[in-house]
């Protein structure tokens, strides 16, 4: 029983440790997701600097056109619906995406992407869809963060279900500084709340029990075989 209990404890410890870093178990076999870093992590190898992007959006009849702005390396895409801007008095609207040349790491937040300044010469009146790409050289981000000044406080603007691997999506009604990351002082959101009536804790318990249940018969049978060997040895002597 001691062995089974140790196995169960180890399985639980693993589940907790793996939960602390998304995506969980990771053995690095997938090809590294290409990413142009402002501040590359040590394991990144050769690196190209991130690129900026510019888009000119037409205004027809006082309504801005639907369009997307993106960086030339595709690491940031922001999409606008028709009439997304307050286009009063404008015939075109310029949108710029510029990677920051520094890597702020605000307290309580760990960024896993570059920080980008997204600006336009007209304010938004409808939410824009923002997609940030990230690399598998860092843990998966849980949120997109926004600030009006990179030195000021950053706030989470959440994240929607990602349509593509290694991307994080959200919407924004403001321009400013954006980066993807996760709260550094606590596990990523999505953590299962034990006792909250969810199915997942039950699934976790069943799976851990499965490991133990598979291990106990092996251990018992091995112990039985050992005992038989010992008895046979005693009989001989």
């Amino acid at each position: 029983m001691r062995r089974a209990a140790l196995l169960a404890a180890a399985a639980t410890a693993y589940a907790v440790a793996a939960w602390m870093v998304a995506p969980g178990f990771y053995d690095g076999f997938g090809p590294p997701q290409p990413y142009n870093w402002t501040c590359p992590p040590p394991q990144a190898g050769a690196n190209s600097k991130p690129l900026s992007g510019h888009q000119t959006i037409k205004v027809l009849g006082g309504v801005s056109d639907a369009n997307s702005a993106f960086t030339d390396d595709g690491q940031v895409v922001i999409g606008f619906l028709p009439g997304a801007f307050d286009a009063t008095g404008k015939t075109v609207i310029s949108v710029d995406i510029t990677p920051l040349t520094i890597c702020p790491q605000p307290r309580g937040v760990r960024f896993v992407t570059n920080v980008y300044l997204i600006s336009a010469d007209a304010p938004l009146v409808k939410p824009a869809n923002l997609v940030l790409r990230y690399s598998n050289l860092e843990p998966d981000p849980s949120d997109v963060y926004y600030a009006t000044d990179p030195a000021d406080s950053w706030k989470s603007i959440g994240a929607a279900q990602a349509a593509q691997p290694f991307t994080i999506d959200t919407t924004t009604r403001e321009f400013g500084y954006f980066a993807a990351g996760y709260p550094s002082a606590s596990p990523s959101p999505g953590v299962v709340t034990i006792g909250g009536g969810q199915t997942l804790p039950i699934v976790v318990a069943v799976l851990i029990a499965l490991v133990v249940v598979a291990g106990v018969p092996l251990a018992i049978r091995r112990r039985g075989a050992q005992t038989e060997d010992e008895e046979q040895l005693q009989d001989k002597t």
Binding site: L7, Y14, G24, G30, P32, G190, L210, V211
Partner: protein, 187 residues
């Protein structure tokens, strides 16, 4: 080399096996990052790791066909436990390309034969099960320092501990091999 290892003092054997395994793993991690070298590094690295298990009796490595059904069941369960946090969390997980999948299988088997097979047996001979469990977990974690971001090393260590405890509790390596292969194929 194998006969020299077999005749070596247990302490020397454990040091030699541990050093060899670390050297192979670190070399693999460095070569793997070079362009177009990932598959070759994984396959050759897996083969080089498996080599360290040559000469050991299958029983000492935890291999065998007795109670095979239970061993396989155990492997499936280990795979499920290893993958569960990722399966619960990930919304979009990329498929592993076929070439990399084969390479991932090769290196998973090689790692299990090396860490929970030969290294475990060498450390077990030297200082018993506690040294084997702690030693293989420590070297397994150290072996992944060049291939994994530091944030992942806690999960790597915990996975190593789980697999080593299974190896000890069930005297079985088939389960860890199957569990490790499943987990690597899925991510």
């Amino acid at each position: 080399m194998i006969s020299a290892l077999k005749s070596a003092h247990p302490a020397r054997r454990a040091v030699l096996v541990g050093s060899y395994v670390l050297l192979v793993e670190w070399s693999r991690a460095l070569i793997q990052n070079e362009p177009h070298m990932a598959v070759a590094a994984l396959v050759l690295g897996g083969a080089a790791l498996a080599l360290v298990a040559a000469g050991w009796p299958a029983e000492r490595l935890g291999l065998g066909t007795s109670r095979l059904g239970l061993r396989i069941l155990g492997g499936l369960a280990l795979g499920a436990v290893l993958l569960l946090p990722a399966a619960v969390r990930s919304a979009a997980v990329p498929m592993l390309p076929a070439g990399l999948a084969v390479a991932a299988v090769a290196v998973s088997i090689g790692e299990e034969l090396a860490f929970r097979g030969a290294l475990y047996a060498a450390l077990d001979e030297l200082g018993g099960a506690p040294l084997a469990i702690v030693g293989t977990t420590a070297l397994w974690t150290a072996a992944h320092t060049l291939s994994h971001p530091p944030e992942f090393l806690g999960a790597v260590a915990a996975a190593g501990l789980l697999l080593a405890l299974w190896r000890w509790a069930c005297r079985d390596l088939v389960g860890p091999v199957i569990g490790h292969v499943i987990a690597d194929l899925a991510l």
